[in-house]
Amino acid sequence: MNNWISKIPEQIKLLAVVVTVIITAFLIVRPMLIPAGFGEQGHFRSGALNDAVAVQFKYAGKASCVECHDDMTDMLAGGYHKKLSCEVCHGPLAGHIDDPDENTPSFPRERTLCPVCHEYLSSRPTGFPQIVSQSHNSLKACISCHEPHDPVPPDVPSQCSACHGEISRSKAVSHHVDIECEFCHTTPELHKTSPRQYRPSKPQNREFCGQCHTKNSKHNTKAPRIDLATHETRYDCWQCHYPHLPEAR
């Protein structure tokens, strides 16, 4: 027994002691450095999940509003703003549920809130109702004409411009100013409520423009004339000419 221990060189024995001390120290210190719950749910301190859910609600959610204000939410549900959450306009109201008298909603009546969504921006999707607030009854508050909980659609065709302002402004300075929208676009009534599902028609053939623009048209003597039989026969007219501003190049 003693025989093989005595054969081990002195430096190896010392090294073994050092290694043992290091391993022991590691085993003692490691649990102290690793926070409680680490590795229970994954490579993280599981108590962190409790920290993550300790945040206080600021937005109560529309379902909470319905419980007391079902008259308003019913009105909302029937109109264009049915997808709008109450707190988008009235502010975050989680506190209002706990203490309705202390934490009151805001009632925005200025002309600043509505244009956040409805001011004309070319980046906004086509068909979303937009106005140019400078030229749209610029001194009146929006709510003096529009009930925000049930905004009413504009009439067709005279008020196509309410949503399609860019097109109507272009047309206003073009030779086509006197042509009404519905002359070219047959518009289903449901286009007002579901603008994307029910789209207005477009002229489907060359003969439609040809009513005025063929060389033997009897309609309008001033309109520029072409020969439908030879003029770019593969294309519909509006694929090259912008009908709302045909002068444009």
């Binding site: 962190a48 969504c117 980046s123």
Partner: protein, 260 residues
């Protein structure tokens, strides 16, 4: 002859057993458990097991009107500092010009919406892109965190343990989407949590609640009856920077090739 063959087979079996055992070693060292038990919440009103969920978000670019109500609601709900450098979600306006150039602007994260830009006559096409943490399936931020303070919960949500974060900012550098920032007061990393405090209680994230056009859809990825599943079925879907193999869980419908 016969002996040598038997001993060879025994050697082979021993080696195989050794290899099989060595595969188990990392598991033992990392201390992972095969099946994690459901989480014990400090708040008794929460009945939520992270293992039963897999969250994701859908963003329909064709529906975004750039009102910035999402970014605004996010700042309020999560007490994000009001200075214009700190955002958990924000909206970018892309303008692709006729000369092929693309300009992107994002005034104050669109917290107050957008204003009309003058001189946009040469714009070929333009649209808004809401952005947030993509809650990647392979999150680079989690990989680089030296202390395990950034982690992925069992439901796929990437979160930050503020108590344990050193503020070294490795994760902020690692995130290819710029979705993280250092909180100016606590000096810890911050990011979108999918409003974790809301979703464990059955509510939607604040940005989804606030979106007027349902451009943002939140839901389960693994359940066919979820609105997100339908969103992915009905739209052409893209993700941001797919080549990085981060496997984002924020899915964009009608994503333009110019979006980075």
């Amino acid at each position: 002859m016969k002996n040598s063959i038997t001993s060879k087979r025994r050697d082979v079996l021993k080696t195989m057993a050794g290899f099989a055992a060595s595969l188990l070693v990392p598991k033992v060292v990392r201390g992972e458990k095969a099946s994690a038990k459901p989480f014990d919440w400090a708040d008794d009103s929460i009945h939520y097991d992270p293992h039963d969920h897999k969250w994701g978000m859908g963003v329909d670019i064709d529906k975004c009107i750039g009102c910035g109500r999402c970014a605004n609601a996010c700042k309020i709900e999560n007490d994000v500092p009001k200075e214009p450098f700190f955002f958990r979600t924000w909206v970018e306006r892309y303008e692709v010009h006729e000369n092929g150039e693309t300009t992107i602007d994002c005034p104050n994260g669109a917290v107050d919406g957008f204003e009309k830009k003058s001189g946009d006559d040469d714009v070929l096409r333009s649209f808004f892109v809401p952005k947030l943490c993509n809650h990647c399936e392979n999150p680079p931020c989690v990989q680089v965190c030296p202390v395990g303070a950034t982690y992925q919960s069992a439901d796929g949500v990437v979160l930050v343990d503020a108590d344990y974060c050193l503020g070294c900012r490795y994760c902020i550098q690692a995130c290819p989407y710029g979705a993280r920032f250092l909180h100016p007061v606590t000096r810890t990393a911050e990011k979108c949590t999918f409003c974790y405090h809301r979703i464990v209680r059955g509510e939607e994230p604040a940005c989804v609640e606030a979106c007027p056009t349902e451009a943002r859809i939140f839901g389960e990825l693994d359940q066919k009856a979820s609105p997100l599943h339908r969103f992915k079925r009905m739209n052409h879907i893209g993700v941001l920077k797919p080549a990085l193999n981060t496997e984002p869980k924020v899915f964009y419908a009608n994503l333009d090739m110019e979006v980075k």
